[in-house]
Amino acid sequence: MNHKGITRRTFLKAAGGAATALSASGVFGFEEWKKKSYASAIEKIPTQCQGCCANRCGIYAYVKNGRIWKIEGNPKAHNNVGSVCPRGHGYIHELYDPDRIKQPLKRTENGTFTPVSWEQAFREITMKLNLLIMDHGPQSLFWLQYPLANAPLVFRFMHALGSPNTISHGTTCFVARNGAFKMTSGGLPDNDLKNSKYIIIIGRNPCGGIKLYQMKDLVEAKEKGAKIVVVDPRHNETAAIADEWLSIKPGTDLAFLLSMLNVIINEELYDLEFIENYTVGFDNLLDEIIMYPPEWAEKVCDIPKEKIYRIARELASHAPTALIHRGYHGAYGAGYINSFQTARAVAIVNAVIGNYERSGGLFMPYKAKLGSLQEGGHPAPGIPTAPKADGAGIPGRYPVASYSNGISHAVPELALAGELKAGFIYHTNPVRTNPNPKRVIAGYKKLDLLVTIDCVISETAALSDYILPESFYLERDDSVDTVHGGKKAQITLVQKVLDPMHDTKPLFEIIKGLSTGLGVSRFFNFTQDEYNQLKLNPLGISLTDLKREGVIETGEEWKEGFKPCKTPSKKIEIFSDRLEAWGIAPLPRWREPLVSPDPDDATSFRLLHGKQSVHTNAMTANIPILMEMSRHYNMIRLWMNRERGERLDLKDGDLVIVESDIGRGEIAVKLTEGLHPSAVWLPSGYGVFSKYLHTAKNIGLSYNDFVPTYFDPIVGHAMTSEVIVRVKKV
């Protein structure tokens, strides 16, 4: 179109063909169109929720007129058994959120972002990476991710480049627990809650940090008469359905467990046959455990000795249909200097009552063994010979840390030290999920190149040189997934149910795009569908069937009976030779938390944190409906023991200043009897400060703002409950 002075692009161009007679079509007017459109059929497509947490629930997506209409749980999926949590329902908002990234972005000199094409982004990123690899070697690159079903593709990509530094968020979440179970029983067992008659849950809250199948199983167990005991400084959502809540002093769960062992052993309540056949090192335990009678423990953990005796006896009397829940983040995932040994003690109590691989006890969940790309003629790149920069899995550094998880919060330190020069951040936000954000920001800013792959501009994305927008999970195909293993292995996958709204790509296409410019495209000369079918081949499952069903069970059903552990002895290692060889206590041994509140200072508290059922980490705070629920139910508050609060002249709802050695913030206080007096508790998921996240920005606080940078010496976890704050009325 020519405007004399302006010959402009055509915003709408003719597509060819003749226009339909609109009056005849009956859709020109909006109201007429609505009548026709609203009568359209709804399509139901199975896929997997993959937005905001580790559960990756099997769902059905209902699609009408090319839009998501609703989601509901797939009843066949083990992890959610037909339900969807508030986060899952809320998260579909993000699909239509104007805050989503709509095309690749490049940082400009003045710190803003400018849209660029995918071609330009790939060209410039790979050019810079090639130069960095030439100058500093591939070990100077890292990839930090929230591990999803595509994780093997990421390892393949990084290995093709020669970098061992693929890292998950794990050291801020669960690695102490996972490391402890790996050292003890060779892997992480699941809890057979619904068949259990006696359930102790220590510092885990499946009704807050939601695990849908566990919530259902707990309710079912309770209906069948099981007793549920929650051991937690806070009266959490799970405690609300428990028979008993023990408000333990934070950081002393290990003392509680050691004294339970003391009772079980002294009173010979253990399962001797199981111990003799399936464990090693029980005799060593006898000598150690004598130091920890309930009379000692009650002074350490604030639980009366009578209760410890009773609980230990009750647990053992119900064995083997009794268990201590395997836990997650709360008490011993990544919280304290003693978390690794606490988790070891959980594994050992379960072992001495003989509940492994027993109905109502713990069992190793079945996972399908997927096929490999090699079988399809696609050789794997070699494992890089360079050690992981973070020291994960290296004796003398962090021997129990795993290769696949690494140490996420070491990345900024390694960047500041000049060891890491460039990296990718995928589906995670370390500036908000790592402790000590100022230090984290300084580290990430030191990198020569930072590329974030995300759907929104998080705090970390905002620091990046390039942001590559991943298609929303409903807009993409991902890799086949084995996360739904339980008593029978299941295969699931994320499949595309809608066309992408914006100029975004699935991760697989992003990796392919990068691999071309980096000279490793030969490792990605297949399609996502071909990859998935190769993975499914050994199982005799076709990709077409999986896409139709969403969830397919495979392999044999779990049966009672001990299976050899993936430990050197093939048994449960109560005493660990490997730990001893690494100079680590080979049996759980009491250790005080690293820091403790000052008993002479009325303002001094340990800062605890935990999830609420409507939020996950920092991923969901920007979802309007979820944030509205937080506001409506007045959830964004600092919990404090009522008596302690009143001594500080506080009333419920008062604004307080929270201050640690590294951070300061203001928040309203919630006074409650439901919290141990030595602690305050902050819900996680708030404290977003990215200016690009308009719903969540500057609401609430993040516990990470107060936590210093620590590395547990065994697993390298962040010890995020080793923080003392001072709380004062504003």
Binding site: M1, H3, K4, G5, I6, T7, R8, R9, T10, F11, L12, K13, A14, A15, G16, G17, A18, A19, T20, L22, S25, V27, F28, G29, F30, E31, W33, K34, S37, Y38, I42, K64, N65, G66, R67, I68, W69, K70, H89, G90, I92, H93, Y96, D97, P98, D99, K102, T112, F113, T114, M501, H502, D503, P624, I625, K691, Y692, H694
Partner: protein
Amino acid sequence: MLYSFEVKSEISKLLACLLSPPDREITDALNSNYIFERLSDFFLDNQVRLYFLRDRNFSEEELSDDYYYSFFEKKVSLIESFYKPWTEDRECRSVMAGEKGLLMGDHALHMKALYEMYNLEISFDISTQPDHLVFELDFLSFLYTNYSKREALQFITDHLDWTSDLYSESRKAGISEFYGEVIGTVDFFVENEKAGLDAYN
């Protein structure tokens, strides 16, 4: 004064141009006062203030910064769905039903249907949103050129009834003066057209 549909079409197109990502051609047209003159001819008697278009030395870089600041940094949305309930379909049980502030609402779907009916394709240079104001102004221009006042009035009633919300939003957000004025001009144009077409009807 009654203007021909050809003139209205041109004005609608020019306003679409002003709300698209700025480039050299736009800045040249501004610097030569071409856009000012065309709009001045149309908006008689100082009905709208057009001084912001006149006798200034516009640079592409500056305008791009303003554009980024207004519609990216300040996030003032130029998309119709943002200002309207996502759907009014009672069958929808999703938490999005009835909510404002989202993309790809009913109005976006209707725009897609309209483009399909007219065999039009949207350019992907600006946004993939079919109800972006730039596309809607261009579509109005298309209607003025090719169809009758009835279609134009119907379209304005159905799809351009949110420009005053956009104007309020832009003032509240404190976007750049230039784009704030452009939006004010668009709002005036739309309101004026609606009133004029109604009267003409």
